[in-house]
């Protein structure tokens, strides 16, 4: 039933690294969407001219707009998804591309991250995230056992056997990353985001975000979407809304999501990020399928 899956990335890629991967025709389309949306949302296209929180969300919007351009390109090439999955803010992106919400609304969801950041600042929260390269979920869990409480730091996303994202209190994240290096990680990088997406502590600071996510009726998506939280197959608009609301404060199991997709029969995965970022941090059993990127298509 499912053969082709589209994979949407979260935030994190630098705009310049995304844009350089677009062909002139795709860049033109990107520019059109970007100009229209930045103007509508009151953002400066010269990112450095934005206020700090505006600049952050502006960078994230660029990711979403690139996703849209790549998604439309794939469709124009006759590559049509049977199902899809969104990693972190990729959930917002896939919600729009798969037709559950208008693109404009998805961009406004991204804008709402500003209210979450303001709430964290008002409550003097010092949070952070980081990524560990070379250690899997189990290894990181073992390292954390007895050393950190779940309130301090947790695995925010088990990406693959080679990549694990952690999230929590900034001080604990820093210590945890150093510990992972001592235990044989190839690399451990702090994001210095000031937020701890996918940590339950975020729930209390993201009420406005969640309320906004639930402020319109979602359409049933044109293609099913698999939940990265519990791997259920979602076909109803209300489920997609819930997925968006859970997103900020719920840990992800991206590794299990991809495994579930291969178990469901998916053999062709299409990375919708312009720079092939999903392909880099994901791993598919090579006997069962492979990930295609924009560069290859």
């Amino acid at each position: 039933m499912y053969q082709k899956a589209f994979l949407f990335n979260g935030i994190g890629s630098k705009p310049e690294k995304l844009l350089v991967k677009l062909s002139p025709a795709l860049t033109e389309k990107y520019q059109y969407y970007m100009d229209a949306e930045f103007s509508r949302l009151g953002l400066q296209t010269a990112l450095e001219k934005n206020l700090p929180y505006d600049r952050k969300v502006a960078e994230w919007l660029i990711s979403l707009i690139c996703d849209r351009v790549v998604f439309e390109y794939y469709l124009s090439q006759g590559i049509v998804p049977d199902i899809g999955a969104g990693y972190s803010s990729g959930i917002v992106s896939i919600s729009a591309c798969f037709g559950a919400v208008p693109h404009e609304f998805a961009h406004e969801i991204i804008m709402m991250n500003r209210s979450t950041m303001r709430a964290l600042e008002q409550h003097h929260q010092n949070l952070d995230m980081g990524v560990v390269i070379g250690l899997d979920y189990q290894s990181v869990q073992e390292i954390f056992k007895g050393r950190f409480t779940p309130e301090e730091v947790i695995v925010g996303s088990a990406n693959s056997i080679i990549c694990t994202m952690i999230t929590g209190q900034a001080e604990a994240v820093e210590k945890a990353l150093a510990l992972c290096m001592e235990e044989g990680a190839m690399k451990a990088i702090r994001f210095q985001t000031g937020v701890a997406y996918h940590h339950p502590c975020m729930k209390q600071y993201s009420q406005e975000y969640n309320d906004f996510c639930g402020s319109i009726a979602y359409q049933n998506p044109e293609y099913p979407i698999i939940s990265v939280f519990d791997n259920r197959i979602m076909t109803e608009g209300a489920e997609i809304m819930r997925e968006n609301q859970l997103n900020v404060y719920t840990p992800i199991r991206w590794d299990l999501t991809l495994k579930k997709l291969t178990d469901l029969g998916v053999t062709e995965f299409f990375d919708v990020s312009a720079n092939g970022a999903v392909d880099k941090f994901s791993r598919i059993n090579r006997r069962k399928g492979r990930i295609y990127t924009l560069a290859e298509l």
Partner: protein
């Protein structure tokens, strides 16, 4: 310990240089043994991990990333020569690289 011949070393060198040239989108001939993979080629750790996976598959090597990570703590990769030397050690010692 596996024996490493000059032919295998050259094969590993070619594999590594070709990989970085393709991934980093640079001319193969512009890479030398003195090239710094991070600073000169802007390579990242995920690329490095993928190279380990490719090499392990090609030579049927049994090596855990964690063992290599511990080796890297003692021996940073500052040049392509360091990278080639490390892959030769992976080929020779597998998980025992951590004790080298």
């Amino acid at each position: 310990m596996k024996e490493i011949t000059e032919a295998i070393r050259q094969e590993l060198t070619d594999l590594i240089f070709n990989y970085y040239a393709e991934e980093c989108e640079v001319d193969r001939d512009s890479i030398t043994m003195d090239t710094n993979p991070q600073e000169d080629l802007e390579s990242d750790s995920l690329m490095f991990v993928e190279l380990i996976e490719l090499t392990s598959e090609k030579y049927d090597l049994d090596v855990k990333l964690q063992s290599i990570g511990k080796y890297l703590l003692k021996t940073p990769m500052n040049s392509m020569k360091d990278v080639v030397d490390m892959f030769c050690k992976i080929y020779q010692y597998g998980n025992e690289i951590v004790n080298q």
